[in-house]
Symmetry: C2
Subunit: 155 residues, 2 copies
């Protein structure tokens, strides 16, 4: 059996951490060889801005925002790493990848570049209006990712 | 570990049969206990009509159409059953459920009634226009089914 490559899209949400656990209990518990890629997509810097687009920040603010982004990345990857260690899989190698930009675009292009077999992600379960207005990352990826996609729903 | 219930939506398509195989090789190969439900949704009778809605058929035609629907159901369930026997899982019990109506609605309500843990389905991979016009059963179910959903893509 050839090595399977599973990409799990992780972010700050409880749902994405649950999706990672689901992956261990449902998808990879007994596979011979498996490569697990933890993919975190940093939002573009301006998302952090409290004041919205078009403002020019002083250097201090830019540095602070960049640092916040870095901390966020570290914190997500740490939590995800802790879940992986918890399941302690002997047959799974774990890799971390950090992207930046529009999450849905970055995830779809990453699974293609990484030649993933399966993409696993949570769903934020927004209500109707939020979903309709924002569009959902998981909806987009389910449709456009060029591999099988698991949308894990938090019970 | 409690018994997991996995619903696989099967239809006439190659994609759905591939999704069923995927399910065996990726999801349930080594699980302790698993109930697999093969769900087939018959289209509403008028879909069979070559002439479209609003026509009144003679009794003969209605009988012929019903028979065609029954044959289609049998043929899908037979193919799905053959795949299941092929993998010959000792820890999996297989059940067959046939519904009727609008596939996306019936699948979502069936997984709820069956209290499924996971729904597995193929994607027809329609091109952009067909997808935009018809809407896709898998898109709808990924969004609205109240359990985790796997969209299996045929390589």
């Amino acid at each position: 059996m050839k090595e399977r490559k599973i990409v799990v899209a992780v972010d700050e949400s409880e749902e994405s951490m649950y999706a990672l656990s689901w992956c261990f209990t449902n998808l990879i518990s007994h596979t011979n060889n498996c490569k697990l890629v933890l993919l975190y997509v940093k939002p573009p810097p301006l998302i952090y801005s409290p004041a919205g687009k078009g403002y020019i920040f002083s250097n201090d603010v830019v540095v602070a925002l960049e640092q916040y982004g870095k901390q966020l990345t570290d914190s997500v990857m740490e939590r995800a790493g802790a879940i992986c260690s918890n399941f302690n899989p002997t047959n799974v190698s774990v890799e971390r990848v950090v992207g930046s930009g529009d999450a849905k675009e970055v995830i779809c292009s990453a699974v293609q570049k990484l030649t993933a077999d399966t993409l696993v992600m949570g769903t934020h379960g927004y209500g109707f209006f939020k979903r309709a207005l924002l569009g959902s990352v998981s909806d987009h990826c389910a449709k456009h990712a060029n591999c099988s996609v698991v949308i894990v729903k938090h019970p």
